[in-house]
Symmetry: C2
Subunit: 348 residues, 2 copies
């Protein structure tokens, strides 16, 4: 099974490289695209879905694009494998739980992923480590051109790219950054950020996008409106606000440390101690503790621990990853024990 191969390496976006990566975990650009001459998926029969999936898959795997692309048939995947892909941010929860023919094409190190038959026929994603929205966009433009050279996109000269949901019509683009804001959460100043961001029509979401709670002090900030906006505008809108949030978080980190260095060190090291020694641990507690440890590594309170080791744990300690690793289904208490064991070995 191809999915198992993914286990051995984590996505490049977890490397902790790239600008501002102490606060910006990742930058993401995604495009919604649909094939011309076919109905949107809400109105497509199983036969049509199957045809769209086959046409898309063949195009994606054709010579020009296939370099290093791995195609995974999501319909045939087990529930654990699907959740595994969700946990890695390669497919959405909706895609995992949908029915009918569907799949995902993955680029090297998971920088690129293309969902087939999610809400739209195609959802292209470029995911980079750190604050690299423009790099992601440039890469996306190339990818989009390549795909378009093989597939006929549904496009209207009046509206732009046509999408299943009107909010995506136009560029079909959503840009987002995943921010790690533990100091703003700790000092209860995070609500101010939400307030400011929502005023300028940006959305704040949790670690797994729409409809998910924040977890591990991660917040995804993305554009909401795409119709009538150029790609450049969408990126600039994010760029207008993210540096301010970065500065805010960084200032609060510094003053937390200045006001009570031992208190902050204690918090960070105790979190590390729990992770190093717990024998059973829930997913939620893991996220909370990892968030403190990530803060500690980025603030140089913890040395001798690579940031990618920590970043990867956020993903690897999740339920489907643990079950893939163990090679069997585990109930919740078993997972908590397996998680504690995995984390211990990982950190040792």
């Amino acid at each position: 099974m191809e999915i198992a191969e993914l286990q051995r390496q984590a996505g490049e976006w977890l490397s902790g490289q790239g600008p501002e990566s102490d606060i910006v975990m990742s930058s993401r650009v995604r495009l919604a695209r649909n094939l011309g001459g076919r109905p949107f998926l809400t109105r497509a029969t199983d036969e049509v879905k199957t045809e769209i999936e086959r046409t898309s898959r063949e195009a994606l795997l054709s010579a020009a694009l296939a370099e290093g692309l791995l195609y995974i048939n999501v319909m045939d995947a087990t529930p654990i494998e699907r959740l595994f892909l969700v946990e890695r941010h390669l497919i959405s929860k909706e895609h995992a739980n949908a029915s009918g023919q569907r799949g995902v094409a993955l680029g090297k190190k998971e920088r690129i992923s293309i969902m087939v038959n999610e809400e739209d026929h195609l959802r292209l994603q470029v995911l980079c480590s750190g604050y690299q929205l423009r790099e992601a966009w440039v890469e996306m433009a190339t990818l989009d051109d390549k795909v378009e050279s093989r597939l006929d996109y549904a496009f209207s000269s009046q509206f732009g790219y046509l999408t299943a949901c009107p909010t995506n019509v136009g560029t079909g683009m959503r840009v987002s950054v995943m921010l790690h804001l533990p100091a703003l959460v700790m000092t209860r100043q995070i609500d101010k950020v939400f307030h400011a961001v929502s005023k300028i029509n940006l959305a704040v979401r949790g670690l797994y996008g729409e409809g998910t709670n924040s977890s591990g002090d991660f917040f995804q900030i993305s554009n909401q409106v795409t119709l009538g906006r150029a790609e450049e505008d969408l990126i600039r809108q994010i760029e207008d606000v993210v540096p301010q949030i970065i500065k805010y978080e960084r200032n609060v980190r510094e003053s937390l440390f200045k006001d009570n260095p031992k208190g902050l060190e204690d918090r960070v090291w105790r979190a590390y101690g729990m992770l190093r020694f717990a024998r059973t641990i829930t997913s939620n507690e893991t996220m909370e503790l990892l968030s403190q440890v990530r803060l500690g590594v980025n603030m140089k309170i913890i040395e001798d621990l690579d940031i990618n080791t920590v970043n990867e744990l956020f993903i690897l300690a999740q339920p489907a990853h643990l079950q893939m690793c163990k090679g069997k289904k585990l109930d919740s208490p078993e997972r908590d024990v397996a998680r504690a064991t995995f984390i211990r070995n990982w950190l040792e």
Copy 2:
């Protein structure tokens, strides 16, 4: 200063040796004695106190007794040094806080200690590791004979040894065992023990005797009434009840482990993790965590950690010990940081 010498070695009673030492931390026998022809201390002038102290000291340090005895002038000691002696169970709080000439003579490895001018002119103590009441008593009998050969005790053929407080009259003996009962505390069954023990006129006290709270799940069980009882009776009274408590604690430990091994392991290892990584820690939290770790070592959940390493920490992590170690007075937040550092180094 002689007190500083004590720092380098911990009392033998912390060695974790002796029968039942997984539950019985220590066994103690103490005798209250007064010199004949002098008033009790409540009615003694400073001159008389000074004379009693000198007479006692000279007798204790005379050839037959002096072998290895270290005499500390408690009046001249600093407040931190006095507290240091209290923390080591060598003198009582009352002795530390009293006024006038007073001192304490210490035997090798602190197995023997003799307070001069505490509530009585002399308070002789033998303190052993584990459940060794009879051994302690035999040793005490020898010690008492030696002291009596040099000093004239206040004795009445009707009442026995005369003491400042009527509850000690007769044998002047108090026997006690220090029990570590974390499983009974955890499962809230400890009250049953208290209830049973108090019914048979034994006292349950905290780690530092009369008027102190339990700490670290330690409970000291001792006889209350000495008048009209032979030494043998006093010991037998403790021996009648302690094996039952030991058995009770041991059963609860076993069923805790049987019912939820991972839960218990988790509790123990997290406590260890906190101690290994905290950067600031209060005395109370330390006692609680050490109690879990002590349980873990005794239940072989934690291996590669000597029980005496843990036992000694209960004493060494206390305020005066930390300050003696640092060689200066520390306020409470400074102590919490110094404690965390000390514990970390100790366990590493």
